[in-house]
Subunit: 406 residues, 2 copies
């Protein structure tokens, strides 16, 4: 079993990087803080004897040799970028958990048949640059490198320039390669495990989801002398869409969730009718047909709101990932590991997207979840009991060793 | 009559300050551009022989002596601060129009019985610091100076510090004093004059209005794994209020208008449920009871949306000004001046607030409107035919001279 103390000590030190006053971390992709987190990781990987490689999109790999180094490796990992003012657990426990697996094997002098690699994927969160899960997406062949480099944040910085700036545009080609399997430890970010008082989730799959960038363009005018019937108010139309998203997601009797998370008004003045509103829509379900139907409906609602308000609408799908069901063998290996440790576990599916969703296209893939207190994530209040993190890491260790000896 | 050419030349030079690419101006209160506009004004006032005084809130006065300098003066003016990326006419024609009246009298060697003063009021727009019409409001005794100095913009800069920084915190006490009357030339900012193909509006009064700062605080969470029934989404509640404001304003069968003009989401990420939304509400009518009823209704709607969504609501009235009806004699003087010039004119009321609304508490007050093409204002597309501006300035000249000789 792993050392909960060593793991904890590393976890706390790591989260001093970009620590926020309210107890979270602020390390959005390719920020200064993200760069420092990467530097620390590389240092720790090297200290643990891992051979470090950086690929063209900035994914960081650390490799521990196996008895038979020609066999495809077992890959363990997650991400260390964060939301703006996000939580300390999200992603971090999967990467440092992978490192802890290696340290445990090192300390016990255990060799595995196959090599084990630990990876930290670039831009999982998708908060500064969309789409999310970009590093794993390029690795899996879903996006090409040029597309990734050309993405822009709200300030107009490109992903390629920012990657270069922080010094993490590596040499290694970023493309699918032979992997025995991929395992990711992550916080659940939802309420299921806590509600049922369980320590471990054996993840069977991940929701599919769609992301829209949308905008309305009406006409700015004075809030006083402009009669109601002469208005072309981009925010009134957006209000309709916010309501529609809630209604579409709330009333299907299915697992669909829908969110308008980002919204920017121009000119954003108290006494000016809003001319332009840019906003996003996020829909998710384990059933891809449900996601597609929701996407169709919201497109209609956006167009409808625009025509009623007499304004222009734009909407573009910036991300569509199908729901994934993980490999039966890997899911069994995770379930067996939880059993062997007598952990209270259940099988579940993930509403959050994960790098594992893309890895599932490349190799047999599975995930281990640990509970999120209050089901809360993507906020500084994110919290998981350390005991649960340790249990999750032990499940990872056992499943990884089993797979690495196949 | 005034010199349309001299006036035009000044108008164009003045609007080079803070000119935007799309043909508007960006000179929000106490910005660098606003400071440069003030400097230019002071220079031109002095060139025209006016005695310049700056008061404690930064209102700029220029005085032309009368035959009897002890008589209360006739005051002409408006404002030179702008909306963010606002129009070239809004406010500017009233201040430069007042200066043009002086130049015309100078050129013709005409002395008036009473002194004539031209004023540029500080922070009419209320876009960077709320409330609006602050300089005239303090002058009229509606707000006290300390309140004004303590106001903060979105970055947390105080009004007092910013006024000091740009060097326009003057010595002259800002308080009501004896004025014979106040006259303001302004663009209509609404559609009435253009719709009826008229050159001049004789303004009989101004709508009353109320401004709210409001906010919802819910809880941030992950847009994926958080089921719809466990959400406390600040933006969904705001969507309800946007709809309510439109409904309250659109269905009364009265003149009520309502606008949500400013809205900021936190954390504003595509895959995070919005935790906090801050927004504004603006309601206006010529009937104060209608404004009060709308204010009550929107307060209820805000509280209702919060309780349905299970979140916290805040709302605060940051501005309430009663509707104003202007002095009969001054309104007649404006109507007579328009008649004498054979201008196509009508009487109307203003949906936009004006410094004249506060001056109406201090002295007999009236306004002259000229048409806004398309009824458009508070945007870079704001436009008025120069002939109409000239006609309006001539009405101002004639009314001012009549009053200054009483
Ligand atoms: N796990 C996680 O937070 N992923 C970010 C991408 C998403 O699901 O929105
Ligand atoms: N006239 C004008 O634009 N005033 C600004 C204050 C307001 O009416 O909103």
């Amino acid at each position: 079993t792993i050392s909960g103390e060593r793991f904890r000590e590393r976890f706390d030190r790591f989260n001093e990087i970009g620590a926020t006053e309210r107890g979270g971390v602020n390390r959005p992709t390719l920020s200064e803080e993200n760069a420092r987190a990467r530097d620390t990781l590389v240092e720790w990987f090297e200290e643990a004897g891992l051979e470090v490689r950086i690929d063209e999109i900035g994914n960081v790999f650390g490799r521990r040799s196996g008895r038979n180094d020609d066999l495809p490796p077992v890959l363990l990992g997650s991400h260390v970028d964060s939301q703006y003012n996000g939580g300390r657990y999200d992603g971090v426990i999967g990467v440092l958990g992978g490192l802890e697996v290696v340290e445990t094997l090192n300390a016990a002098g255990v060799e595995t048949e196959r090599p084990i690699e630990v990876v930290s994927w670039t831009n999982e969160e998708g908060v500064r640059f969309q789409p999310d899960m970009l590093g794993s997406g390029v690795f899996a062949g879903k996006f090409d490198l040029e597309f990734a480099y050309s993405l822009e944040d709200k300030e107009g910085n490109t992903f390629g320039e920012e990657l270069e700036r922080i010094g993490y545009r590596g040499e290694e080609p970023c493309e699918p390669r032979d992997l025995h399997c991929y395992l990711e430890l992550h916080v659940e970010q939802g309420p299921t495990l806590e509600d049922r008082d369980l320590a471990v989730g054996v993840v069977e799959g991940v929701y599919g989801f769609v992301w829209f960038d949308a905008a309305f363009t009406g006409s700015a005018d004075h809030a006083g002398p402009t009669p109601m019937h002469l208005r072309n108010d981009a925010l009134v139309a957006t209000g309709d869409v916010i309501e529609s998203v809630r209604r579409i997601a709330g009333t299907g009797g299915d697992d669909l969730v829908g969110t308008v998370g980002s919204l920017d008004v121009d000119p954003n003045s108290i006494n000016v009718i809003p001319e332009r509103v840019e906003f996003t829509v996020d829909f998710r379900s384990y059933d891809d047909a449900v996601v597609d139907r929701a996407a169709d409906r919201v497109r209609e609602e956006i167009d409808h709101a625009a025509s009623r308000e007499g304004i222009e609408a734009e909407h573009e799908v910036i991300m569509r990932i199908d729901s994934q069901s993980f490999d039966d063998d890997v899911v069994e290996a995770v379930a067996d590991a939880a059993d062997a440790l007598d952990a209270d576990a259940t099988r579940l599916v993930s509403g959050a997207g994960h790098d594992a969703s893309y890895l599932n296209r490349v190799c047999p893939t599975g995930m281990v979840f640990v509970p999120s207190v209050g089901g809360v994530s993507h906020t500084e209040d994110e919290f998981t009991e350390w005991d649960d993190v340790v249990t999750g890491a032990n499940v990872l260790l056992n499943a990884a060793v089993e797979k690495a000896n196949e």
